[in-house]
């Protein structure tokens, strides 16, 4: 697998560590009302789609950037990758 790093181009996926669904960017507010239910969903439930999946990869053996990669889980085709930091600053993962 090759990950299209937005700054470094195609890189061997072996350099990366996978975390999971990019929805993990949207951490609930721990001080808010009903936080426990929101966290239970955040921590444990996943869409797990067969198809396009926005997901977090960490360039652990590279530049230490977290990326949001859009990948098809049925074909492994990758449609794009962004710096997770930029995605979060733009308002989080949809």
């Amino acid at each position: 697998m090759l990950i299209p790093h937005p700054l470094l181009g195609l890189r061997d996926a072996q350099e990366f560590t996978y975390l999971g669904d990019a929805a993990l960017l949207n951490r609930p507010d721990g001080m808010a009302e009903g936080a426990e239910a929101a966290f239970a969903e955040y921590v444990y439930l996943r869409d797990n789609p067969a198809g396009l999946h926005r997901e977090l990869w960490f360039h652990e053996q590279g530049d230490r950037s977290w990326l949001v990669v859009t990948r098809d889980t049925t074909t492994h085709q990758i449609l794009g990758a962004e710096l997770a930091r930029d995605v979060k600053l733009k308002g989080g993962a949809a």
């Binding site: 072996q14 921590v43 444990y44 439930l45 996943r46 067969a50």
Partner: protein, 416 residues
């Protein structure tokens, strides 16, 4: 038709004319009391026990492809009950006991072979953890032995004892563990279920769940709608896709696990051996192939195939552990989509939809659970109550904080 050695001889002498189909190819009926979605090992076992042990009738198994095409058709065939946590160990030990009488029960040789599983340890902390686990196994009525280095050497002298990065310090041995012929298990259950009158319907994909007023009343399939009293879903690998039809999100990610087999070799390896310092486990099939595996590829996937780095990584682990396998050749690699749950343990539970039941989240360990999973799921479907050994496998354990996390790695499926 009863199978036996005598029968084989008689048929051999009369030109094999008497063999009957192992199961029928029935047309789907308009309605059933019980529909099991998924004709893999767990689905077939569920139907079998539902009919045989719980006396239920009007049961259908719907399989989108061929019977046994689930993960029962592509795994490394290991059976064991060497678990630590009380939510798991009694269940897997129950499964082990079912394995031990399985072939006689369903009159089909699934080649259950109790040649033992040896988990190697390489540090003192690992040995402490194995001791805790071995004791948990004994306390639950299973068998376990703690071997020291020399004990391991006596069993497996070909391991790398002298030149290893992580020296072998000992191992946890479960002698009753071993392997079973995976396809044989599926076929044995399928044949047994069919003999009990269960309709096994192949090439019948469920495309929708019919739910009225919070209650399931049937399924939509590629072969038309079928009404049902209760629906049990046992489609590990695709659980999220099927349960999405009921509007549910699951604590599951689908991942790919690769497995490997070498060309056939004369007897080389005694039982199952797992490498505690690298991701590698191995056994030898009756045909002589070394069957081995390792870690999952680690990313969400339904593609049923993996990538080269894991192939190299697993093989590297094998070479580090038993360098004498180097001149064997890898014959085939395959990958299966598996349900990786958020705590590494399965789910056998009712769902918020009445009459809809879920059997899922088997991670890479569903095969060994096949008998108990089928039995416990049948118990739940038939009685509405969880089987005593599967009572912890609840869907709400995550929200409530009763996770069953054998590895202690938390809510990250690719680490389990």
């Amino acid at each position: 038709m009863h199978f036996s050695g005598l029968r084989v001889i008689r048929e051999a002498l009369t030109g094999h004319k008497g063999w009957k189909p192992l199961w029928r190819n029935p047309e789907p009926q308009p309605a059933y009391d019980y529909i099991i979605v998924g004709g893999g090992g767990h689905g077939l076992a569920t139907a079998y026990y539902l009919a045989k042990a719980f006396g239920r009738a009007r049961i259908a198994v719907l399989e989108k492809s061929w019977l046994g095409s689930g993960n029962v058709g592509r795994n490394t065939t290991i059976i064991r009950s060497n678990y630590l946590l009380p939510g798991n160990e009694p269940f897997y030990e129950f499964s082990m006991k079912l394995w031990e009488g399985l072939e006689q029960e369903f009159n089909f040789n699934a080649m259950v072979s109790q040649r033992g599983i040896l988990n190697l340890c390489h540090t003192d902390a690992q040995r402490d953890a194995y001791r805790r686990r071995g004791n948990a196994m004994l306390l639950a009525g299973a068998d376990a032995e703690l071997l020291d280095r020399e004990g391991v050497r006596a069993m497996a002298p070909f391991l790398n004892f002298d030149n290893a990065r992580f020296p072998i310090k000992g191992g946890l041995l479960q002698r009753r563990a071993g392997t079973a012929r995976h396809d044989g298990v599926a076929w044995g259950y399928a044949r047994g279920a069919d003999m009990q009158g269960v309709d096994l319907i192949q090439n019948c994909e469920v495309t929708g769940l019919r739910i009225k007023a919070g209650r399931v009343c049937g399924v939509e399939t590629t072969r038309g709608p079928i009404a049902a009293g209760k629906v049990g879903v046992a489609v590990a690998g695709a659980s999220s896709r099927v349960m999405a039809m009921a509007g549910m999100r699951l604590p599951i990610e689908s991942h790919v696990l690769q497995a490997f087999v070498t060309e056939g070799l004369k007897p080389t390896i005694p039982g199952v051996i797992t490498f505690g310092a690298g991701h590698f486990y191995v056994s030898q099939s009756d045909k002589g192939g070394l069957v081995f595996g390792g870690d999952i590829d680690g990313y969400n996937s339904y593609a049923q195939r993996g990538n080269l780095p894991v192939i190299e990584d697993v093989t590297e682990g094998g070479m580090a552990l038993m360098p004498m396998i180097g001149r064997a050749r890898l014959l085939r690699v395959w990958g299966g989509a598996i349900d990786m749950s958020m705590d590494g343990s399965p789910i056998i539970d009712r769902t918020p939809v009445e009459g809809l039941y879920l059997n899922a989240g088997w991670c890479y360990g569903g095969f060994k659970a096949t008998p108990a999973s089928g039995y416990a799921f049948a118990h739940l479907l038939a009685t509405g109550r969880p089987h005593e050994t599967a009572a912890a496998y609840r869907l709400d354990r995550f929200a409530r904080g009763h996770v069953i996390d054998e590895k202690g790695v938390g809510a990250q499926p690719n680490l389990h």
